[in-house]
């Protein structure tokens, strides 16, 4: 019998895909997250600019706060680096034999870049500004 793709959401979550499945899920979650957060920021900026709306200012204040930026920067940096790995492996499939090394390189770049980002966000907030 061939693959049955009609699997429920929670049944699908129980699939033990390990690290690659986590990367796939995070890529989707961060992608939708970026769309929602950055999209809201663009729309709020539009209304702030055109009407000086209070709700829009409120949304943008949350968006620009350092706590929120810790999440936004995680979403963007992870999605970009993971996506870069996926795009390179998709466009040059011969490199697929180096999938494991690519994942290693991805995290090797991600940890210091995101770590520095969070450090700077927290440090500047503690200094005040």
């Amino acid at each position: 019998m061939a693959l049955n793709r009609k699997v429920g959401f929670f049944r699908g979550l129980s699939y033990r895909g390990g690290g690659p499945m986590l990367s796939w899920m995070l890529h989707r979650i961060t992608g939708v997250g970026i769309l929602v957060f950055v999209g809201l920021h663009v729309i709020a900026s539009f209304f702030m600019q055109q009407t000086g709306s209070d709700i829009a200012t409120f949304i943008n204040t949350i968006y620009e706060s350092w706590v929120f930026q810790i999440f936004v920067t995680f979403f963007v940096i992870f999605h970009a680096l993971n996506g870069l790995r996926i795009a390179i492996l998709d466009l040059w499939p011969r490199l697929l034999s180096y999938q494991r090394e690519a994942l290693w390189l991805q995290w090797f770049i991600f940890v210091p870049v995101y770590g520095l980002t969070v450090f700077l966000l927290v440090q500047r907030s503690l200094v005040g500004g």
Binding site: M1, A2, N4, R5, K6, F9, R28, G31, V32, I34, L35, V38, G39, V42, I43, S45, F46, Q49, Q50, V76, A80, G83, L84, I86, A87, D90, L91, T117, L120, L121, R124
Partner: protein, 139 residues
Amino acid sequence: MHTRSVQPSTSFEYLMWIFTRISGLAMILLAVIGMSGAFLLGARTQMDLPTLMRWTFFPNPNHVVNSNIPDVALGWATAYWQIMQMVIFFFAATHAFNGLRVILEDFIGESFLRPLLRGLIFLLWLFSLITAVFVILAS
């Protein structure tokens, strides 16, 4: 059991698949260009790192107004950056709404809802492009 047919010819799905990869790489390249442009305009002495990163992600003069740039209109608020912003936003919006389409189609599957979903996403995409052009030109 539902089998998908092999599509050897160019189809919408295939084109969007390629576009997603190319636009992703293009956005990274455009970010590098944005950051390089900032350094050429004197960002090293005129702004801190978070401001530089805001500019890198989207080269909008509003992102650098609270910095030591003497006059944002000279070099930062030019038509060149406005066009760059529009290109970046076009790639980003199309990339993002296509991604959203892929995820939702995974949940919806083959059904009459698919054309409705595509139409709705198309309208959202168009609306966000128009909004972005307004925001960019009025900055």
